[in-house]
């Protein structure tokens, strides 16, 4: 094969390529990459903690001191939730592709976008300070009165970090909402938006409304640690349950903040690699919005055994079942989107199919924990751990890697090595199930979470889980190497290597600084793939033959 020796046209990454120009850039694509660097860094810290947790739990005897183990699971939770999962897809792919998909030249507020990155890193620094100084052992849920009166360590700094982090979420989501409303290209009506854009839009609304509650929560925690007014202290008329209500009022929607973007990515991938229109576009849009709204009304299902009123528990259980309905629609539509397609099994598709399976298992076990009587048994056990890792890791992280591979040629102008990527995708699926499936069994057996040691009877499952985790660790580290390699040696990619229909594929790879010379005009909805002859029509109305 002859190498195509085209010199890359000037693009967003090469134009004025100095450190200062990157640090003060207002280009959404560069800021996306800055975020990408930050969250990758935090992902590996959180991942390191996870590795230590699984190493420690491989045997009941353990490896770490109890106090160190408790710090590890806290770091793991805080890092992964606020510093990886929540910003993962929105702040990287959302930042990069939301404007491109709607035909905009940038986000509505480029400076705010940059500020969001600085605020994010500031919060990261505060958290790192807390860790370096000795860490915290409250768990990511910071339940008082333990966190307010009993925990040693840097709870104040950690809560402050989460508080600051919230501002970054708010800024980015505000930016997305305004951009989607104001900057759509001519012809880009609401019902022509790609599902990824809908996902970004719905998640932004959730972030924008829920994050302030978290901020109040963390602020009160700081006040408690600092002067102790007794908000959550029953001996002074306060109420520890109040914290749980406020915390979950944010943190339950936060679960959907983590999964909605993943749903958006997977819809893009499945349609593109099955080479057919997504099944039930409108249903998918409505499901996204329904999830976003209902997610606000289920928070107390985290408190079924905390002594809340029986009748409110019944209501929250019912609403939790309702939120599963739109999720079920999505699973059904993704699966049926394969029907009469012309399916290509490239790495992003493997991740997407993995996502659908793991998300289905995560969602169905979600029903089990939403069932009141069963939750009484499995609440705060490894069953719950397994359930939400199926959603957060099996779901969101798989979608993140899927999206990363899919958009890699667009972002870098280079192909990733396909066989390595397929290998990594398969390994992820295998390693993931080995790690987390045993935890369902452990959970029903009754192993509570956050235990640094356990009875010998539970050893085999824990050992299996730890073995799986080592495979998973390799699967997650692999892309770092081959994607790094491809930056230098990867085959050059054209504007639309996968034959996809979104507007982001109608500009060169990598895109020029302002995405398009002329604002594109949109002629039709997304996903005009024809599996019969492989042809497809990009959203600007140009019909392309099968490649």
């Amino acid at each position: 094969m002859t190498t195509i020796a085209i010199d890359l046209p000037r693009n967003y990454a090469t134009e004025e390529n100095t450190i200062v120009s990157w640090l003060f850039t207002k280009d959404h694509k560069r800021i996306a990459l800055l975020f990408f660097a930050s969250i990758t860094f935090f992902f590996f810290i959180g991942g390191f903690a996870a590795t230590m947790i699984r190493l420690h739990l491989a045997t009941p005897g353990g490896l770490l001191q109890p106090s160190v183990y408790n710090r590890m699971f806290t770091v793991h939770g805080v890092m992964m939730v606020w510093f990886f999962l929540i910003p993962s897809i929105p702040n990287t792919f959302g930042n990069f592709f939301l404007p491109m998909m709607i035909g905009a030249h940038d986000l509505a507020f480029p400076r705010v976008n940059l500020l969001s990155w600085y605020v994010f890193n500031l919060s990261g620094l505060v958290l790192l300070y807390a860790l370096v100084m000795g860490g915290i052992d409250t768990g990511w849920t910071f339940y008082p009165p333990y966190s307010t009166q009993y925990a040693s360590g840097y709870v104040f700094a950690a809560a402050l970090a989460v508080f600051i982090n919230g501002f970054s979420s708010i800024m980015t989501s505000l930016n997305f909402v305004v951009t989607t409303h104001r900057l759509r290209a001519p012809g880009m009506t609401w019902l022509r938006l790609p599902l990824f854009v809908w996902a970004m839009y719905s998640v932004s609304i959730v972030m924008l409304t829920a994050t302030p509650v978290l901020a109040m929560d963390m602020f009160l925690l700081c006040v408690e640690r600092f002067i102790g007014v007794g908000m959550f202290d029953p001996s002074r008329g306060g109420d520890p349950i109040l914290w749980q209500h406020m915390f979950w009022f944010y943190s339950h929607p936060a679960v959907y903040i983590m999964i909605l973007p993943a749903m958006g990515v997977v819809s893009e991938l499945i349609s593109c690699y099955a080479r057919r229109p997504i099944f039930g576009y409108l249903g998918m849009v409505m499901a996204l919005m329904a999830i976003a709204i209902i997610s606000f009304f289920v928070w107390a299902h985290h408190m079924f055994v905390a002594g809340i009123s029986i009748y409110s528990a019944v209501v929250f259980s019912l609403l939790s079942f309702f939120v599963a309905v739109p999720s079920a629609i999505k699973v059904f539509n993704w699966t049926v989107s394969l029907h009469k397609g012309s399916i290509v099994f490239d790495a992003p598709m493997l991740y997407a199919l993995g996502f659908v399976l793991l998300f289905t298992i995560g969602g169905l076990t979600g029903l089990i924990v939403a069932t009141l009587a069963v939750d009484v048994h499995v609440h705060d056990t490894y069953f719950v751990i397994a359930h939400f890792h199926y959603i957060m890791v099996g779901g969101t992280v798989s979608a993140f890697f899927g999206g990363l591979h899919y958009w890699w040629p667009k972002m870098t102008g280079r192909f990733y090595p396909e066989s390595w990527a397929r290998f990594a995708a398969t390994l992820t699926f295998v390693g993931f199930n080995l790690t987390f499936f045993p935890q369902f069994i452990l959970g029903y057996l009754g192993m509570p979470r956050r235990y640094y040691t356990y009875v010998p009877a539970w050893e085999s499952w824990n050992l299996l889980s730890s073995a799986g985790a080592s495979i998973l660790a390799v699967a997650y580290a692999l892309p770092l190497f081959y994607l790094g390699w491809s930056l230098l040696y990867g085959r050059r990619a054209g504007p639309n290597p996968w034959g996809a229909t979104g507007l982001e594929w109608t500009t060169p790879s990598p895109p020029p600084t302002h995405n398009w010379e002329l604002t594109p005009t949109v002629k039709l909805g997304p996903y005009s793939y024809n599996p019969e002859d492989g042809s497809y029509i990009t959203q600007d109305g140009v019909k392309h033959a099968y490649v």
Binding site: I310, A328, L367, T371, A373, Y444, Y452
Partner: protein, 317 residues
Amino acid sequence: MDQYHWVPFWPRTAALNAVVVNNLYIAELGLCGLIIAMVVGMMMTFCVRYRQGSTVSRADRVKKTWHWEITWTTATLVAFLVLFCWGASIYIWLFKTPPGDIEIYVVAKQWMWKFQHPGGQREIDTLHVPVDKTIRLVMASQDVIHSFFVPAFRVKRDVVSGTYETIWFKATKTGTYQIECSQFCGVQHATMKGYVVVMTPADYAAWLTSHGIRESLALQGEALFRQYGCSGCHGANSTVHAPTLVGLYGSIVHLQNGGAVRADERYIHDKILMPNEQIPAGYPSNVMPSFAGQISEDNILKLVAYIQSIGSQEFSR
């Protein structure tokens, strides 16, 4: 102790509630299995049949999608509602605590479980109970939130600082079952364990006597009632305008603010620590002092037991 011969898949089932929860759980696993099989089956079939390069026709794809979606949504909704009702009815049955045959007081603290039997017997981290009797636990925490969890009984309840939580179980098999603390409560959370020893009634009676009939909880409470000066106001010949506590337990108290509460353990507990939160109608506020920080949770439990004992006297009269 939980002994298994081989890799365990399933916890032991040793209480009334456990059987009921098992059935529901098995039904749910069945439904989940069915749905997963369906999704995987469809996915596999489509992936093989419609892989790129296969020659099957792709013409006449389903275009109208909504009736598929409606069917699927209704089907899932119905299945979900059945599960919801099933789970909720068990939960209500479980958490509407019935009066127990035996009432045991539990104090949780970092990192131990203290149990006090009505006869005054106390134990730490081990709880002896008779089989086939409804055991009601009244639980308080001395510090942070803990959670009382017996996997073999499928019962769990957070022990939240500042209030009483109650739970009941009826063990159906003799044996020794693990107690776990399932809410993170500090460094030694993982070792905050204990055992429930379920015995035959005869063994239980023997155990009670061998552990000495100490002064009963209520009697100890009566002494405290005098020691802390409660009797000065609440006693029969007191001059303070304070309600008599005889017959209080279990009755409905009408409050000054117009509401009404049942005078249960939690009410009495809160009355001792935060007397001005709920004032019974017709009595002055700010007279009864708060005893927060002065009486330990153990002693409050004894006071409650005492007030309870003079309450039931009234009822039996």
